[in-house]
């Protein structure tokens, strides 16, 4: 009995072809890759902090993959993509070059830069995906991930833009730009705070203040510049230190995670929360965590937007199957499904005009959640992300000058 089980297991593992050799895959046609991918298992390491996103991946995406391609999708929840960077790096150090444990990562920004910095990404294959044609690579916000060229090392999945949320029942007219927000904070002691960087969301809030201090992002784009940084940073720390006594708990402490800020907001302790993905506000309202009267808004001087991606590590043994997963994620149908308010409400990473008429009609029919500011409205004043070196300098500087 045991022996037959072992034989069975050996046979089933052997049935799924090992596709660790990325160069061999690049020489194949898409149909051959799809054939290679059949029966494979993809370990997808992704942030697991939102139930609706988890359900979309585990239910919808996994079902499509099983049905159409006989691929098993294994979602591995993590709290921070930096953990996976460490994992793949450790594997590389240990000489594991063709049997890594990670097949796909949901990633962007600094973690993508780390993966590129240490040569941990599988690159140069994205043209092979048929649905790559739906992606507008001429858009610099897609072709660059936080200022770092994508170079065919990752595939876009969602676009997001930062927005604030407030409760319209208690605060009908929120401030409309950064200067007004700073004045509001000083006029309403204890009613505002932001998560301490390096929390992802807290860090982006500080960057908005940084842009404000710089009079806009134009002088900050491009490679890191110490002289510019010193001038703008001094102004930024002055602003943040000036508002500190008016923050929650008198600024003696800051929340350490965006989750903690969301709880403060849900409890009515602070008047605002904010998120890189405004769809989260609608989800929280649907879940009964926030009141129905929550509304969200951007700033007239703009809020920061970015694109997030999926990436295949250099040592994934299931590259073919991981590529098929990426192709499915990019499809008009999958992008439409996750754009639905009740599913996720995530803005697509593809050009809707390049999809089929049915998909386009689907997108047109989506009714936004009243708590979620429409992405078109936000997009009217969108700010780019800075290169990772700026992020590092701002986070370090905040810690030394504000959060000490």
């Amino acid at each position: 009995m045991l022996r037959s089980l072992v034989v069975f297991l050996l046979l089933t593992t052997a049935a799924a072809a090992d596709t660790a050799d990325g160069e061999a895959l690049k020489a194949m046609t898409w149909d051959e890759i799809v054939e290679q991918a059949r029966g494979g298992t993809v370990n997808w390491f992704m942030w697991g902090g939102a139930d609706n996103i988890n359900a979309y991946v585990s239910d919808y995406v996994a079902a499509v993959l099983k049905r159409d391609h006989d691929i098993t999708l294994n979602r591995v929840p993590i709290t921070d993509a930096a953990e996976v960077v460490n994992l793949v790096l450790t594997e590389k150090e240990a000489g594991i070059t063709d049997s890594g444990s990670v097949d796909l990562i949901w990633i962007n920004g600094e973690n993508f830069r780390s993966m590129k910095q240490a040569d941990l990404a599988f690159c140069g294959y994205t043209d092979l995906l048929p649905n790559n044609a739906l992606v507008n690579w001429d858009n610099p916000a897609i072709a660059n991930d936080f200022g770092v060229p994508v170079d065919g090392c990752e595939v876009p999945w969602n676009t997001v833009q930062f927005a604030f949320a407030h409760d319209s029942a208690t605060l009908p007219d929120p401030p409309q730009d950064m200067a007004a927000l700073i004045d509001w904070i000083k006029a309403n002691p204890g009613r505002f705070t932001y998560p301490a960087p390096p929390d992802f969301t807290g860090s982006v809030f500080v960057r908005h203040v940084f842009y404000h201090a710089a009079g806009g992002p134009d002088a900050l784009l491009g490679p890191f510049d110490q002289a510019t940084f010193d001038v703008v940073a001094a102004r930024t720390w002055a602003i943040l230190n000036e508002i500190e006594p008016f923050l929650w708990r008198g600024g003696a402490t800051y929340p350490t995670t965006i989750t903690q800020l969301n709880e403060l907001f849900a409890n009515g302790e602070v008047a605002f929360t904010f998120n890189y993905d405004p769809a989260q506000f609608g989800i929280a309202v649907q879940a009964g965590i926030y009141p129905d009267t929550v509304r969200s808004f951007g700033l007239t001087d703009g809020t920061i937007g970015n694109t997030n991606y999926t990436l295949i590590p250099f040592n994934s043994p299931n590259k073919a199957a991981a590529m098929v997963v990426q192709n499915v994620l990019l499809s008009g149908e999958a992008q439409l499904e996750k754009a639905r308010t009740e599913v996720w409400g995530a803005a697509p990473a593809i050009e809707i005009t390049r999809t089929t008429p049915e998909v386009q009609a689907g997108f047109a029919a989506i009714k936004g959640h009243p708590s979620v500011v429409p992405s078109e409205e936000l997009a009217r004043a969108a700010l780019p992300e800075l290169q990772a070196d700026w992020l590092v300098a701002i986070e370090e500087g905040w810690k030394a000058n504000v959060g000490n």
Binding site: L89, R113, G190, P198, A388, L391, V392, K399
Partner: protein, 279 residues
């Protein structure tokens, strides 16, 4: 029989420690670092927040260990008596041994944070008007929430070890002391406590080492600054810049070293003192 244990210790723990040591000396070929040096240690030890982080970690570990040991000693002595309902009280006393630390920390958060159950009760009772009027017990400068969690979790742990130790102490010792005119306090101070000392020292040393080196509870309940040392190490391990990885390993080694030195000192003092008193 020893082989499996040695395999785990040598194969996993010591190899891991060795790799961490190598990396702390800035030797990570995968990142192009091939010339070992002590740069990471210099950077860690001279970093501005290091001493305050060390102070915070020592405070958390010392306060948690002292409070938990005292309460556990009292509880063990009480539970040793025969009384009605003792079985059920003993059961309740030990029930949280199975609950993970992280779950405990989240529970503490729900109970004592400014929007937690106690704050809500206080609000319902008219004691406070807003969440901010409830004293900050989590994410606070004195790490009260963290210490509370450790005390809650470790009292039964130390208590269980003390109860086991108490069972091996024959009642004749106490009876002899009583017959020689010792009062209850003197029996406790000069007979029971010295006999219990080795068990108490060992259990409290484990608690100290854990509270000093564990990161999850300070991560959940700690203020943003200063960070407990293990949290700071984790932050630098997951920092944006891969070049800071050696510093993360150096900090982990420093934590392990400080913990080991403190434990060695503690073992010398506590065990010798306990041994002498018992004679």
């Amino acid at each position: 029989m020893l082989a499996p244990a040695l395999l785990v210790l040598g194969g996993l723990f010591l190899t891991g420690l060795g790799l961490s040591l190598l990396r702390s000396f800035r030797y990570i070929p995968a990142l192009g670092l091939t010339d070992p040096d002590l740069g990471a240690y210099a950077a860690v030890l001279t970093a501005p927040g290091f001493l305050t982080s060390l102070g915070l970690s020592l405070w958390i570990a010392t306060a948690s260990t002292l409070i938990a040991s005292t309460l556990a000693l009292g509880a063990a002595l009480l539970l040793r008596q025969t009384f009605t309902g003792r079985a059920i009280i003993s059961f309740l006393f030990q029930i949280n041994l199975t609950i993970p630390h992280v779950v405990g920390a989240v529970g503490i958060l729900y109970l004592v944070s400014q929007s937690g159950s106690f704050a809500r009760l206080a609000h319902a009772g008219g004691l406070i008007g807003a969440p901010s009027e409830f004293p900050p017990l989590t994410h606070d400068p004195f790490a009260i929430g963290i210490i509370l969690t450790y005390v809650w979790k470790e009292v039964p742990f130390i208590g269980l070890i003390l109860l086991a130790s108490l069972q091996s102490i024959r009642p004749e010792h106490e009876a002899a002391a009583r017959s020689l005119g010792a009062n209850r306090w003197q029996v406790f101070r000069h007979v029971l406590l010295p006999l219990l000392m080795p068990a108490l020292a060992a259990a409290s040393a484990l608690v100290f080492a854990f509270a000093f080196g564990a990161y999850e509870i300070p991560l959940i309940l700690g203020a943003h600054a200063p960070e407990a040392l293990p949290v700071a190490a984790w932050r630098s391990f997951t920092a944006i810049d891969l070049a800071t990885r050696p510093q993360a390993h150096a900090m982990a080694i420093v934590i392990a070293l400080i913990g080991a030195v403190l434990l060695a000192l503690y073992a010398r003092v506590a065990l010798r003192k306990g041994g002498r008193d018992a004679v």
